[in-house]
């Protein structure tokens, strides 16, 4: 058996993965890069990002201001050295993407335009109408095609990270089309698989976002950091969770309750609709408790009113919002308000990395939403995540390539054996038993318990119940049965493997949330309503064990900004 070998192997081909792949191939001549993605890269979830990408581009802005906004937005859990590096490198990264053809929206004088976004003090969000992620991803993907050093494994699904002598030396992956498991040897592996929004029932996230890469790292002993922090986006469509971009508020849209009030004056009077997402999402729950919301078949909602912006602005700046609402809820925002509610949007937590994207495990790197480099802390500001993919994708690509230059490949013979063992493990677990549990049922139960225990507001009791339920679900997972025992394009098998990843990430998340007995950013404990810097100004690290995960902590890096009360 011939094993493909790459100096650097990307797991995931979205914004961060493709940026990392290009960076790695540019780091030294002859670097050989592989990109494994379970979907064709241009299908990756970066494609769904709408509002924009933050960077300091204008005279009225400066790096310290972007840094301060990000740190305050993070509720002081962002590492300040990371934030400082981020805001500095963000500028070159968005210009680089401009040079690669991204069709940024423009001002009359030809400069890239910037718009207002939540939690940002000035206009600093570049955009391509309201399809920014789509255009960024396609620009990156199309640009990546010119690099002959990049080999793609489209529709290959990574099932494990291979470890030898304590270092990551490759992956095993299911070629979805053939059904065969292969080993791919790599000196460096970078996880760029995105978040895990699909462990919750109502989310803006695509079907593919199941925390795959986080679980892969967790399973080989790499800690997952700050997993308890899950961002609810305040404006998703009820039921489907389809995202109504924050740009709709950036361009001047209003949030209105059932009494016709712009209720945010109660909660974030200084920012109103441009308050940060965590506070806006909690405000919705407060309004719900007071009975100031509308009720529909998919639960409570409020109105996002864009009518006063007029048809011209909506069509120029928010065409996708209009397309989506017309198609999915039969509403034209030019003449009617849009029903919206908070839905799960983004994982601040992820694979623990240092400022360069390196994990504690030799040879393993991570970037983008899958990673936690500690840029976003307890709450991410809108439009920082696309930039994060660029800045830390590039950083991870560079250090992974440098590591590869100084490293040898692991022994191929042992990897052949590892691939055979993996094929056997999967066939035994999913084809060999006559389990009675359906993937969809366990998945639905997982989502329900996550919503109940680890939703917008959390309590000790509810979290304990969720932790217990996840343990039971993991037991049920052992008894899983799938309908499809064939090999070619077996999506039943892929879904079953994904469910295993989801359960692992959910477990780490719920336990981290249980032990953080304070409220900070997106993590709101009804039983511990205050932020507690004395005990919890620190990152959580979840380690997998044979039983419940072990939670450790590490300090937050502060440079120039002392934690203050976070009001807007």
């Amino acid at each position: 058996m011939n094993i493909p070998k790459h100096d650097v192997l990307l797991v995931g081909g979205g914004g961060a993965g493709l940026r990392a792949a290009i960076a790695a191939s540019e780091t030294y001549r002859g670097a050989d890069i592989g990109v494994v993605s379970k979907v064709y890269p241009m299908r990756s979830h970066t494609v769904s990002a709408e509002g924009g990408t933050a960077a300091v581009m204008r005279e009225d802005d400066n790096l310290d201001l972007h840094a301060y906004d990000t740190i305050k937005g993070s509720d002081y859990l962002g590492d300040q050295d990371v934030v400082e590096a981020f805001v500095k490198e963000a500028v070159d990264e968005v210009i680089q993407l401009e040079h690669w053809g991204c069709p940024w929206s423009r001002d009359e004088d030809g400069r890239v335009s910037v718009r207002a976004f939540g939690g940002m003090s000035v206009k600093r969000t570049l955009y391509a109408a309201d399809k920014t992620g789509f255009h960024m991803l396609h620009a990156l993907f199309q640009t990546s095609l010119k690099y002959d050093a990049i080999t793609r494994y489209d529709e290959w699904f990574v099932t494990s990270l291979l470890v030898e002598d304590g270092r990551v030396c490759g992956v095993t992956a299911l070629n979805i089309r053939s059904g065969n498991i292969h080993a791919i040897s790599a000196k460096s592996v970078i996880i760029c698989t995105g978040g895990a929004g699909k462990i919750f029932p109502f989310t803006t996230n695509a079907a593919i976002k199941n925390g795959d890469g986080m679980a892969l790292a967790y399973r080989i002993g790499c800690p997952l950091k700050d997993l308890e922090f899950v961002q609810y986006h305040p404006t998703g469509l009820p039921g489907t969770g389809i995202l109504m971009t924050e740009a709709s508020r950036g361009e001047g849209g209003h949030l209105v309750n059932s009494k016709g009030e712009r209720y945010l004056s109660e909660y974030v009077p200084g920012k109103m609709e441009l308050g940060p997402r965590d506070i806006l999402s909690r405000s919705f729950i407060h309004e719900q408790r007071q009975g100031n919301v509308f009720e529909g078949p998919d639960g409570s909602y409020v109105h996002l009113d864009l009518r006063h912006l007029g048809e011209k602005v909506i069509d120029e700046k928010l065409p996708f919002v209009r397309e989506l609402t017309r198609n999915y809820v039969g509403i034209d925002p030019v003449i009617e308000p849009i029903p919206v509610r908070p839905v799960v949007h983004y994982c601040m937590g992820g694979v623990h990395t240092d400022i360069h994207g390196a994990t504690p495990i030799s040879g393993l790197y991570a970037a983008g939403e899958a990673a936690c480099v500690s840029l976003n802390g307890a709450n991410r500001l809108g439009s920082n995540s696309l930039t994060e993919c660029l800045v830390f994708g590039a950083r991870a690509g560079q250090v992974a390539a440098q590591h590869a230059a100084d490293t040898d490949f692991a022994d191929s013979a042992s990897m052949v054996k590892m691939a055979q063992d993996e094929q056997k493990r999967i066939e035994t677990q999913f084809f060999g038993n006559n389990g009675k549990e359906r993937v969809a049922n366990i998945r639905d139960d997982l989502r329900q318990t996550m919503e109940e225990g680890a939703g917008i507001f959390r309590t000790e009791d509810a979290l304990k119940t969720t932790c217990d339920t996840i343990r039971t679900l993991k037991e049920r997972y052992e008894n899983i049965g799938i309908d499809d025992h064939s090999r070619v394009f077996n999506t039943d098998l892929v879904n079953a493997l994904e469910l295993g990843y989801m359960l692992d990430v959910a477990e780490g998340l719920a336990h981290s949330a249980l032990l953080r007995r304070e409220s900070r950013g997106s993590h709101a404990r009804s039983d511990y309503e205050e932020r507690d810097d004395e005990n919890f100004l620190k990152h959580s690290l979840a380690y997998q064990t044979d039983g419940d995960p072990r939670i450790e902590y590490m300090p937050v890096t502060l440079t120039r900004w002392e934690p203050e009360e976070r009001t807007y």
Partner: protein, 250 residues
């Protein structure tokens, strides 16, 4: 809650390990008023028959994964409402003009090769260093190519294209539109490098201007217009080159 209704959906099945040619299978699905065709497929997969295979991801019409033939027309199944088909029976099949891998999953390797062949990236004789900032581009210059940059690679236009159905060498609507998108971009200087693919026999000249590609495009990219514009530009360039054979550098 919306009332539940039941619709009959006949799906093309093809399991290459078990059968030599495709078969059909009919499912009855109880659906909510706001369900799309993709929701019905997911309901089948989750609760009736886990062996049905298809691609999907974003469920909001932008990832481009879930294109299929719905009652004979190429559609994004995440954007096709079931209620628009009810009470009639529905047929869901993989996009035509592509080899079938399994059930509703087609082989799109051919497109991926063609996409790369049109060099869909910015080509410049000299690259400006990032430190010197962005290339200026006015809103009007952006408008020149913006429409053609909206392609989500969903393959509906290839399924609708009668020429591609007969002649697989044809570069095809989406790839030509994307090549054209870069040709129209004020930052790009790669027109010449793309011409040998786009303006070749297998490029624009195969197109008989049926225009079905533009009709089915869910993003209003209008590939037919891209092809038409390229034909005009190529003809003009060729005529110019007869007058000034050495003066037509770009």
């Amino acid at each position: 809650m919306s009332d539940l209704r039941t619709i009959k959906i006949t799906v093309l099945r093809y399991r290459p390990e078990e059968e030599d040619e495709p078969t059909e299978q009919t499912y009855e699905v109880e659906f909510r008023d706001d369900w799309v065709v993709l929701d019905a497929l997911n309901h089948i997969k989750d609760h009736i028959d886990g062996t049905l295979s298809f691609r999907w991801s974003c469920r909001m019409g932008v990832c481009g994964s879930c294109g299929m033939m719905v009652n004979g027309e190429p559609k994004l199944t995440c954007a096709a409402m079931l209620r628009d088909y009810y009470p009639n029976e529905m047929h869901v099949e993989p996009l035509v003009n592509f080899p079938i891998v399994r059930d509703l999953v087609t082989d799109m390797t051919d497109f991926m090769d063609k996409l790369k062949a049109v060099k869909p990236w910015i080509i410049r004789e000299e690259e400006k260093p990032v430190s010197e900032g962005e290339y200026l581009q006015t809103p009007d210059q952006l408008k020149d190519y913006k429409q053609f940059s909206q392609c989500i690679n969903c393959m509906l236009c290839y399924a609708a294209c009668p020429v591609y159905g007969l002649e697989h060498d044809f570069v095809g609507p989406a790839a030509i539109a994307l090549g054209h998108r870069y040709n129209l971009d004020s930052r790009d200087e790669g027109n010449q490098q793309r011409q040998h693919v786009i303006a070749s026999k297998e490029g624009i000249w195969e197109c008989t201007y049926v225009g079905e590609c533009s009709v089915v495009c869910p993003k209003h990219v209008d590939p037919a217009e891209a092809i038409q514009q390229t034909k005009v530009a190529t003809t003009t360039n060729r005529l110019k080159s007869l007058v000034m054979p050495w003066g037509n550098k770009k």
